[in-house]
């Protein structure tokens, strides 16, 4: 009986938390709509968020993209000719870089770097009663703290995905020249003949969804801190864990929708 009661209590808590999260997400979307009409409120926060989340992650993002693109190029150019299917290398490169790994790895990087930072920062503000101070002076914490981070993470995610594609598809070419010299015109021609707008839009759609997940989950976990400073790292861990799970689930769903 006690087990059943515990299960019921846990289910009710989860349902309540889910409803609270959905309500939080709704408020974020609503305030995002108003953000551009009163941009002065969080403009500087938005710029700083894009700077930290996007620009500062560009280096690691570029290195990952070049490395993965080069690996696919090297493996493909040595393996596929054995089956007489050299032309498939470009398709594989595009599917892996543009459609799958580009948005996914970028989301992981942003979650690891910015998700934890956002959750920790907001949790610290809660512990320090800064949120109460904002509310006391009439500032909506969601409008001033969450929306700029939400937009910043989403924009950074989209922009970093574009860079990931650029570095993954073109930057790897430089590395491949060492192993298998190929004329740039031939490489670009074959690559652009294979690449479609649908591939690019697929990657950007995933980037948009992943950006929303990372920003909402991180801010939600930051605000979930109550009063103890020990809750702050827990909020960071939860933000990363929840974001990873939701990103993978969203990736599967978006892929299924696109290929259905």
């Amino acid at each position: 009986m006690a087990i059943i009661s515990a299960l019921g209590r846990a289910a009710r808590t989860k349902a309540s938390g889910l409803l609270y999260g959905l309500g939080f997400f709704y408020n974020v979307l609503k305030e995002t709509g108003r953000f551009f009409r009163r941009a002065q409120v969080g403009y500087k926060v938005l710029i700083m968020q894009i700077l930290f989340t996007g620009y500062e992650a560009l280096a690691i993002n570029a290195i990952m993209a070049i490395a993965i693109g080069a690996a696919i190029n090297v493996i493909g150019s040595s393996l596929l000719p054995q089956f007489g299917q050299s032309q498939l290398m470009y398709s594989i490169l595009i599917i892996v870089i543009t459609r799958e790994l580009g948005p996914l790895l970028t989301a992981f990087v942003i979650t690891a770097r910015s998700g934890t930072a956002i959750a920790t920062q907001l949790g610290t503000m809660v512990v320090n009663h800064e949120i109460e101070a904002y509310m006391a002076v009439g500032l909506n914490p969601i409008s001033y703290l969450v929306v700029p981070r939400f937009i910043g993470v989403v924009v950074s995610m989209l922009v970093l995905t574009v860079y990931f594609n650029i570095f993954g598809l073109l930057g790897s070419f430089i590395v491949v020249q060492v192993v298998n010299p190929t004329p740039i015109g031939e490489y670009l021609g074959a690559l652009m003949s294979t690449l479609t707008v649908a591939d690019v839009l697929s990657g950007l759609t995933k980037a948009l969804v992943f950006g929303v997940i990372v920003s909402v989950v991180s801010t939600y976990q930051g605000f979930a801190v109550n009063r103890a400073s020990t809750e702050i790292p827990v909020a960071g861990i939860k933000a990363v864990g929840s974001s990873f799970i939701l990103i993978i689930l969203a990736d599967v769903i978006v892929t299924l929708v696109q290929y259905a």
Binding site: I50, Y55, F83, V159, V162, G189, M192, S193, V200
Partner: protein, 365 residues
Amino acid sequence: MKFKIKFADQIVGLFIIVALAFFAVIVVLIGANQRWFAKDYRFVTSFPSAAGVAPGTSILMKGFTIGKIDKLRLNADNAVDADFHIYDTYYDKVREYSILELTVSPIGLGSQLLFHPGTGEARLEEGAFVPTADSIQGQSLIDQELVLIPPKDDTITRLLANVNPLLENTNKTIVTVNRTLTEVNRALAGQSSGPLGDIVGDVSVAAAALPGAMAGVGGIVGDVESRVAILLDQAGSLLAELETIAGNLAATTEAVRDPTGLVTTLLDPSGSIKTFLDDDDALYKKVMSIVGEADKAVRSLQGIITGLNGEMPKIAGLLNETKAAIKQAQDVLEGVKNNPLIRGGVTERVEQESLYSAMREGSFE
């Protein structure tokens, strides 16, 4: 203040603008390479199956992509209609008698859709039908050497190019044999209305009518024999009469030669003969009428013999033909009996034996 913080706006702006520029360049490059703004010439073709072909499949000519498949649909005849386009830069290759060829890798490495230009002078109009190499129309163009097909350059494809016709011929032969056996079985079962069924039916009817024919032939032969016997009897009796007449004439001639005999007596003017002959030619006329009758009889005999001689080759031929027909019928019956394809064969005749003799022989053995 740190540089990044001081120029955060500019850095972020540049960060976003460069990304947008890259994105725009990629979209433009995609459009340029995928010929968004170029003129394509559209044609139609038909495949027996969509296996190995899909929308977007490249159409290759000597390794160059000269067009792509646009759309596939299954038509009412269970063939696959396909719309495809050829790039404007290669439109001059699309001439009369051009064909498409779908080649499938023998070791499962996908397929290629090849374009072979025709030898015609005129370009095909947009929307024209381009046959495939495995269609009847395509085969006809290839057989007439109206299309330029380069030799396949890989060993497996060359081998398969040689093996495939053999396999196709073997397959056709097996199908033909199968159909023939089916037709033979149906014919032997009496279910076929084709030529073979008619032949078997005719053989069956002929075999059934053979005993009647043989009885007819026997009747004809018997009739001929009886007629010949009658003719021979008549000829024999006539010959006997002629022999008697010849004997009489010989005796008369001998009597005439005797100087003291009959002639002298006959020539005596006071004799009874002279008296007998002086009858105003009555006897002479009588004799002449007898001679006339004899002449008629001889002519009749001569006609009968001549007619008989004329009929003898026909009778002999008829007998020979009858004999040959009996032999052929015997061969047909033996062939039909020995044919393993006949199911059931000819029903054996059950001879009803005399009960008395059978019982008696069984009892005293």
